[in-house]
């Protein structure tokens, strides 16, 4: 006779089979049987957050910095609805999560029971797939599939909703091997003809550019190595989206910096003027393209992506290869090396004019800013933070807003999985819980959340989690008392009508840190900045660093909404003659 297990036992057996080491969660009525079973599994450690949204983002930080699947456990009703933001965030940025939620017992579903909500209904549009488990005998198979789907293809979040009675009921356990062999994997073959056509374009290109995205990071370390090799054997310039930072060394000569709305002058102009664009694992997001009908008008475009729906969604391309970036690139490079050995050297003359133009654009130093001796400029703060931490294999998370863009511009990443930021959804409050997940996955490493004073307050309660688990995350608040990006847009688009973007009352962040049992440090002037940052780095406890900066600094360069890549505003002096059209104002 087959052995029977309770639903709760089945859940943990399955988690063990998938080598889950950490769960980020919060208990409640509908998951009590699962929490009861938790204590029997010493190899799975539960991290108790202070809010379910924090659990979701922490799992995201864990997943992004480790390449593993993040696991979330929450109760029914509010527990589930509180994770919706994090699930949506993970869906937009392609982060693999498995969220297990409790549900009211089967016989109460549909009766508006206490803490009941239609969890699968609510999370349907923000997950790759979700399940409501109605039969305990299906539970193990569903969890195995959940892990498979979260990680396969373009990764993303999935949710398994388990009614409380199912957690108690006894049923059979199926091993993942048995379940997953039934899933027919249809790996699309790499189109060899398309590869040859692409190679011809690469050889002919006079003004090429490579543009990488989060897909390279998701594909894994091998893909980032291949991107580096591809740049080496072609000698082509490379730029990256916000999510792709770290795939190629940020301090390398071939790297033009980030592109897009707050990208560098050289990256955006190169995108506009190129004759060949090679998109590796990016999705032509609107922050990248600017005005669609003016986007890189004279180039042949190649798109390599694992998601077929990304091809020709926003930008029509000339050639595409659907597949894992690492696998496709590996094939492309091996054919290329055989057909065109020593290409980099022989092709130098072909693209030297192009590099000269790029160097001209570089001379504009679009990331420069007017520094001050009296107040800390936010860019200067990030630059100093970078200089003082660059030798430490540092992991950076951010919240959302100006500080996020300054971090992306001035902090340089040489390795993948070191940069965790909410790009697609733009979730304020992401950075601190994400940093907690990163620190869990990378004990002993330096983890810094570059934050804004408005964003950090959205999930500040997670500082308590950091203190509980002795996670020495550093929260570096660029404090200008404004929702800076909102203020910047109001300045540019709404005649400086700073409606509700100033925070009249803020906590004393040093005292706040102390109240939580963490360390509080404040820096007010540029001359004390270095010394205070060092103080922060010496601490083995969580630290809030309140960096008081210039209140009205704007984030430049910038492609104003509705404009093209070659219509950037470079700085405050530049913005007057580049008025934003009525059409542009409507865009976000």
């Amino acid at each position: 006779m087959t052995q029977l297990f309770t639903g709760a036992e089945i859940v943990f057996k399955a988690l063990e089979e998938h080598k889950v080491e950490f769960i980020f969660g919060y208990p409640g009525g509908a998951v009590l049987p699962l929490y009861d079973e938790l204590v029997n599994h010493k190899n799975i450690k539960h991290i108790l957050v202070r809010h379910e949204q924090g659990a979701g983002h922490a799992a995201e930080g864990y997943a992004r910095s480790s390449g593993k699947v993040g696991v979330v456990l929450v109760t029914s009703g509010p527990g589930a609805t509180n994770t919706v933001t994090a699930l949506t965030d993970a869906y937009m940025d392609s982060i693999p999560l498995v969220c297990i939620s409790g549900q009211v017992p089967t016989h109460l579903i549909g009766t508006d029971a206490f803490q009941e909500c239609d969890t699968t209904g609510i999370t349907r549009p923000c997950t790759k797939h979700n399940w409501l488990v109605k039969d305990v005998n299906n539970l193990s198979a569903i969890i195995h599939k959940a892990f498979y789907i979260a990680k396969s293809g373009r990764p993303g979040p999935v949710l398994v909703d388990i009614p409380k009675d199912i957690q108690f009921q006894k049923g059979q356990y199926q091993k993942s091997e048995y379940v997953l062999k039934k899933i027919t994997k249809e790996i699309a073959k790499i189109d060899e003809k398309e590869i040859l056509k692409i190679l011809t374009l690469i050889v002919k290109a006079k003004k090429p550019i490579i543009y990488t995205g989060g897909g390279v990071i998701n594909s894994g370390d091998k893909a980032t190595e291949l991107v580096r090799e591809f740049v080496k054997i072609t000698g082509f310039p490379i730029t990256s989206t916000l999510q792709g930072l770290g795939a190629y060394p940020g301090d390398d000569d071939k790297f033009l910096g980030m592109l897009g709305m707050h990208g560098t002058f050289e990256a955006n102009n190169a995108m506009h003027d190129c004759d060949l664009m090679i998109n590796l694992g990016a999705r032509f997001d609107d922050r990248i393209t600017g005005k669609i009908d003016k986007f890189s008008p004279n180039s042949k475009k190649i798109h390599i992506d694992i998601d077929p729906s990304s091809i020709n969604k926003i930008i029509q391309v000339d050639h595409s290869l659907v597949g894992d970036v690492g696998e496709v690139l590996s094939r492309l490079i091996s054919v290329f090396k055989k057909k065109y050995p020593n290409f980099e050297k022989s092709n130098k003359g072909n693209i030297s004019e192009w590099w000269k133009r790029i160097d001209k654009w570089r001379e504009r130093k679009s990331l420069s800013f007017e520094n001050s001796t009296k107040t800390i400029k936010p860019q200067y703060a990030v630059q100093r933070l970078y200089e003082l931490t660059k030798d430490k294999d540092t992991f950076i998370t951010t919240e959302v807003g100006q500080h996020q863009m300054w971090a992306a511009q001035h902090y340089k990443f040489n390795k993948p999985n070191r940069w965790m930021t909410s790009g697609g959804l733009g979730t304020m409050g992401y950075g601190l819980p994400a940093a907690i997940g990163v620190q869990i996955a990378n004990p002993g490493k330096l983890v810094i959340d570059i934050a804004g004073e408005a964003s950090i307050l959205m999930n500040i309660q997670e500082l308590s989690t950091a203190v509980q688990y002795r996670l020495p995350v550093k929260i570096f608040i660029i404090n200008n008392q404004y929702m800076g990006m909102v203020r910047q847009w109001q300045e540019l688009l709404h005649d400086k009508n700073y409606s509700e973007s100033y925070t009249e009352a803020l906590p004393d962040f040093v005292k706040l840190a102390e109240a939580y049992g963490a360390i509080g440090i404040r820096a007010k002037t540029p001359d004390e900045l270095d010394e205070k940052i060092k103080l922060m780095l010496q601490s083995d406890k969580p630290v809030i660093f309140d960096c008081v900066v210039d209140k009205v600094e704007n984030c430049f360069p910038m492609i104003p909404s509705g404009k093209a890549h070659n219509e950037m505003i470079l700085g405050p002096a530049d913005k007057e003659d580049k008025k934003i059209s009525e059409e542009g104002k409507v865009l976000v």
């Binding site: 699968t120 209904g121 349907r124 549009p125 790759k128 797939h129 409501l132 109605k134 789907i149 396969s152 293809g153 373009r154 899933i183 249809e186 699309a188 609107d286 669609i292 009908d293 694992i306 998601d307 077929p308 729906s309 091809i311 020709n312 969604k313 926003i314 029509q316 659907v322 009525e582 059409e583 409507v586 865009l587």
Partner: protein, 188 residues
Amino acid sequence: MIKHLSAYPELNIKEKSERHIMVVWVDNEAGVLARIAGLFSGRGYNIESLAVAQVDDEKHISRITIATNGTKSVIHQIKAQLLKLVPVHKVASYEVNNKSIFRELALLKVLVTGDKLKKVKKLCNSFKAKILDQTKNSMIIELNSYQEDIDKLIKSLKPLGLASTSRTGPLAMVKGAELKEMNKGKVI
């Protein structure tokens, strides 16, 4: 004037919008229709009509037929998005042309007496519509045809006392021995 309100750049390009019949083969499981309908509403696609029934009772496969409209690139995008849904096995789109057969069913109730009754019967004859139920002051008519034909009959019946209309929306099948192939690159 603001023109570009849509997030979908395809809609800004003056491409011709065409009527398409999408057919989706799905696992017949709870919530599958909500996934399909949610995808259409969430991404701003249009559902003109929808017909669903299980077609394979061993494998529990349902065939969903959706009449929609959009430019070529929108139709392409709808297909790609549908294929990403886990319970979706296969997606095919049928251009409305003479390469495929399209059929929908209409039930029409007419409240009618006297002279008009004759006219209705005559209409039914010319449209090859069946009369399923008749009393002294009412009639239920069934017409199994293509969309425009049904539109015509409805238009003609309106002044003759058409009181209730029910339509299924079209079903589609390719003519000849051809079958719609499995899509390449289905990944989950």
